[in-house]
């Protein structure tokens, strides 16, 4: 292509680039402000609902006697318990699987779901698929025994 033709083409193309750039910016600003609004709304919904119930696991006994009795672990939302560092509650006990079980606060108490073939007992019953623990329930995971404490909170934070 000769120089004059390129110059003409480039001079036309510059308006195309300006139009695209302005379009990108405008869409971007719109989308980002909308996204921020959604995030605010989500935050507000979380805030309104409050923290509700505080669930805590208190350690009653440890087979290996490595972890101190009476140690407390908070259960917030979906909580994974296990030996691995990526769990929400990491317990260095040989009797636990890497990811041992998943706890979650639900309507009628705290659901306990063992992962794989992990050994979990709730109130004397070996859990196959899923169990629900109540205030004061005894939960055994591997060689560790916990008691569940539930407390109502009303702070809308």
């Amino acid at each position: 292509m000769n120089a004059t033709a390129y110059e003409l083409l480039s001079a036309i193309a510059k308006y195309w680039f300006i139009a695209l750039a302005l379009f990108i910016l405008a869409r971007m600003v719109l989308s980002v402000t909308r996204e921020i609004r959604i995030e605010r709304q989500v935050q507000a919904e979380i805030g309104q609902a409050g923290t509700g119930i505080n669930a805590t696991l208190v350690l009653l006994s440890d087979e290996d006697r490595k972890i101190k009795r009476g140690k407390r672990y908070a259960v917030q939302g979906e909580t994974t318990v296990g030996r691995a560092g990526r769990c929400d509650v990491t317990l260095r006990a040989h009797s636990l699987e890497r990811v041992h079980c998943i706890l979650n606060m639900e309507r009628d108490g705290m659901s306990v779901v063992p992962v794989g073939r992990a050994f979990v007992v709730v109130d004397g019953q070996v859990v196959q698929r899923r169990a629900t623990a109540q205030e004061g329930s005894e939960i055994q995971m591997g060689g560790l025994v916990f008691r569940l404490c539930l407390e109502e909170t009303n702070d809308a934070e």
């Binding site: 292509m1 390129y6 110059e7 083409l9 480039s10 001079a11 193309a13 510059k14 308006y15 195309w16 680039f17 300006i18 695209l20 750039a21 302005l22 379009f23 990108i24 910016l25 869409r27 971007m28 600003v29 719109l30 989308s31 980002v32 909308r34 996204e35 921020i36 959604i38 995030e39 709304q41 989500v42 935050q43 919904e45 979380i46 309104q48 609902a49 409050g50 509700g52 939302g77 979906e78 560092g85 990526r86 606060m105 639900e106 309507r107």
Partner: protein
């Protein structure tokens, strides 16, 4: 997080933005292919650069649904603009930069994964500190001097600028230690590390990097502790220090003199800024058109520090302002992330990253348009430079990691809140 009480509230989609960005990059490279004969390499770039952008959004978006797509596409678009400009100014450097861009994307993914999934940060703390100080010390011994600053290590096939990576290490270490420790004794190691970094970079006379590291330290420290007294005295000390540096280093004095009146020495010291201003002015609002500017010949180091004046000359001031606005959007998103973060480590990480990137952008853009004295830092994501590209991508990865952590926490809390609402009468 796709629904609310009223029904479907979909997250805004980014398809149109992505399409516009792809078109921008592709047409620019096609246009460059026609410049001066026919150039098949440029056509390959016209396909590959937009492809990297789209592939990232699709693949990473699927792997990490909570990744901040806006930050991702803005940063990648800026990289794309940089590549277009570089290919126009110095095609061989553009191909090198494409390689750095690819490596940078991989580094970003690794960093994202680390921040989002890795919990044993404490293990990394001392090695990272050690390697950073070692690299800086090494630069003082075997570094090579460019433009009055001794901040490059020459490795046969490419040069390394350790101060760029030290910035990333500094942000990580500060966030790690300040999020967990409070007493003076506990903060001593990271304090010493920060002082060592700033001190060694001062000895290298790389004043832009000194300023960035110092301000990042102060801002992160203030965010963590809200300690007005110490931060104010730190800023005062910095003011005093800069006066001392001004008296001590002759090349600082020249820079300030040039900034005050570049037209006094238009053929000599002020040449770079004068030519940059002429280039921006000659482009005007709508620019001269891609490939028709003369900045490539007239402005020294146009491909790294002064790339913004080339963008303004050929694409026009409107596109230049759009680029600045995109940077601002990126920083706003980053700061909002920091405010939403529930763990102080993640909040400090985001604050440090945004401060560093924003300050760097401000310093070089201000330098190019003669608003502040010129400091030799690169324009994040756009300028040519492997070290700079990698460190910016690492910082981008940190932001994305924080975004993933925050998004996952928000989603689980939101689900819980919704469930609880459903039980209550």
């Amino acid at each position: 997080m796709t629904q609310n009480k009223q029904g479907a509230l979909k997250k805004p989609d980014i398809d149109w933005i992505l399409l516009a960005m792809t078109l921008f990059e592709a047409t620019a490279f096609i246009l460059l292919a026609l410049y001066d004969g026919f150039d098949p390499v440029s056509l390959i770039l016209a396909v590959s650069v937009p492809l990297i952008l789209v592939a990232q959004v699709l693949l990473l978006g699927r792997a990490f649904p909570h990744m901040d797509k806006y930050i991702l596409i803005v940063a990648n678009f800026l990289c794309g603009v940089g590549l277009i400009m570089l290919y126009r100014l110095a095609p061989d450097k553009a191909l090198k930069q494409l390689l750095f861009y690819g490596v940078g994307v991989m580094a970003m993914v690794c960093m994202t994964f680390l921040v989002a999934r890795f919990r044993h940060w404490r293990v990394l703390r001392l090695p990272v500190m050690g390697v950073s100080v070692l690299l800086l010390a090494l630069t003082l011994v075997i570094g090579k001097e460019t433009y009055g600053a001794k901040n490059w290590i020459d490795l046969k096939f490419f040069s390394l600028q350790p101060s760029e990576f030290v910035k990333v290490a500094l942000i990580l270490c500060l966030a790690m230690d300040l999020s967990e420790k409070r007493t003076i004794g506990q903060l001593l190691p990271v304090g010493l590390f920060a002082v060592a970094c700033v001190g060694l970079i001062v000895l290298q006379k790389d004043l832009g990097a000194v300023l960035i590291c110092f301000i990042v330290c102060i801002v992160v420290y203030f965010t963590a502790t809200s300690n007005w007294l110490l931060c104010l005295s730190g800023l005062l000390a910095a003011a005093g220090g800069s006066v001392v540096m001004y008296k001590l280093f002759p090349h600082v004095q020249t820079r300030v003199a040039i900034w005050q009146d570049p037209w006094a020495t238009p053929q000599d010291g002020g040449y770079q800024i004068v030519q940059s201003l002429i280039a921006i002015a000659s482009g005007g609002m709508s620019g001269l058109g891609l490939g028709l500017g003369s900045a490539s010949k007239s402005v020294p180091v146009v491909e790294s520090d002064f790339i913004f004046s080339a963008v303004c000359e050929e694409f026009g001031i409107i596109v230049g302002l759009t680029v600045i606005a995109l940077y601002v959007l990126l920083f706003i998103r980053g700061m909002l992330l920091a405010m939403r973060a529930r763990s102080s480590f993640h909040a400090l990480l985001a604050v440090g990253t945004v401060t560093s990137l924003a300050l760097q952008t401000f310093m070089i853009l201000g330098g190019v348009i003669k608003m502040v004295p010129l400091t030799g830092v690169t324009l994040p994501f756009i300028s040519y430079g492997g070290s700079s590209m990698l460190s910016c991508m690492l910082m981008l990865g940190m932001l994305q990691g924080v975004s993933i952590v925050v998004g996952e926490q928000d989603e689980s809390q939101w689900r819980m809140a919704r469930r609880r609402e459903a039980w209550q009468p």
